[in-house]
Symmetry: C2
Subunit: 251 residues, 2 copies
């Protein structure tokens, strides 16, 4: 079996923003679907894993786009496993137009957890290390964007606190990974969003649940870059646990 | 050309709620896409209309489901024009599983407006009444659910006020029709949403824009039914203009 899958996507009218470019959250959803299909076909999907009481957990996602797909555009996502370590695997993506011209790339990091203990598993021994069969060669691993960066929050300011409701929650009862992206981008002005996003990074640190409040702390880095930290159930005295951290770079 | 189109849909993992059933907003989005494709193919789509400076505006949508599509399910939407009046057209939908077994139905009402005057157009004379060629026969028009009801708000209570942000806005700069559905369903409890939605009706009354505040007024009708009125930019003294009204019936 080929190690790289090509997953066609189509940009629907309600999935584009006021500039006609696809919402980054929608693109993120397409990436996660492409990843899910790729694993599923190779026996590593959520369905197969549930039988052995394991599941994938997304830890990092970095997306960098030269050009955002636009309304009604047919595109494709290619995805593959870059590498496997004991507790994490790196999966990369290329976003291309229908002719295979690159529009952008993404990198992601995943852990596999045991559903009962919620502890990470050893990917190198699970299923006799079968996942190693899907790691691509160095030549095939074309993903010319920076790796995941580090976050340093020094003077982030609380800018918004929101409740979480029915529409925020996924099938596991957790706030959906994509909804954090939407809520984070909702912090920015119309002018910033008009410029469009060049790069977006997110690190998922802890789960949150329906009914949790999420507080958003914004730290501008430069004219074109800002970091955001999301904490849950902060009180006036104490910032709550960090749920995720993100970096947004505008064009 | 056949008057009824069949539009395949697939229920993706991040598009289902904590019960594993598709979010009603996502289903609504699929219905609108099916409608868009159906019009487009017959020369009545947004693209063609923009050239003549007209566009479709959704006025009513009522969805009634015997069974909600579930995670990973392949389904299809059939859609057709039921009737055309001077200022409105009725479009119906059947939601079916991949074998054509009905899961539910929907009805919708659309107006066509002139983009410059924002006034409704006469559908019976536009393009020499071409749309009349697509009205199905009575036998083909199988949509065994009630028509759109009337709303009567007497003692609705303000239950939530929210801001509107980047993710709420569509390509026209308006709050997206589907986002209202999400925000309305977010008013309900986990227990109500667990039962699932049997019928949902919405009447769109006015546009709102990024930055508008939306106030949600809830009027319980019975144990299994509630009405919601959404107003924009209400002040403590004066309820704002009505943006939309909805009725939710739970299983």
């Amino acid at each position: 079996m080929n190690k790289i899958d090509t997953h066609p996507i189509y940009i629907e009218p309600f999935h584009v923003d006021f500039t006609g470019r696809v919402f980054l959250g929608v693109l993120g959803n397409h990436l996660l679907n492409a990843a899910g299909n790729h694993s599923q076909k190779r026996g590593w999907g959520i369905g197969a894993l549930n039988e052995t009481r394991h599941t994938w957990v997304l830890s990092r996602l970095s997306i960098e786009m030269m050009e955002m797909p636009r309304n009604y555009q047919h595109c494709q996502i290619r995805t593959w496993v870059e590498s496997v370590m004991k507790l994490f695997t790196n999966r990369n993506f290329a976003v291309e137009d229908a002719d295979g011209r690159p529009l952008g790339y993404a990198r992601s990091v995943w852990a596999m957890i045991d559903l009962e203990t919620r502890r990470p598993c050893d990917l190198l021994t699970l299923y006799d290390g079968d996942i190693l069969n899907y790691v691509v060669s160095e030549e095939e691993n074309v993903c010319p964007i920076e790796g995941h960066g580090r976050f340093r929050f020094r003077d982030a300011q609380l800018v918004r606190t929101i409740g979480t409701y029915y529409s925020d929650v996924d099938i596991n009862g957790h706030i959906n990974s994509i909804k954090y992206i939407e809520h984070i981008l909702d912090l920015f002005t119309r002018e910033q969003m008009e410029r469009g996003i060049r790069r977006f990074e997110i690190a998922y640190k802890a789960e949150s649940y329906m009914g949790d409040t999420l507080s958003f702390y914004l730290q501008p880095v430069s004219d074109t870059e800002a970091d955001v930290e999301v904490r849950k159930n902060s009180t006036p005295d104490t910032p709550g646990e960090v749920v995720c951290q993100a970096k947004v770079r505008f064009n």
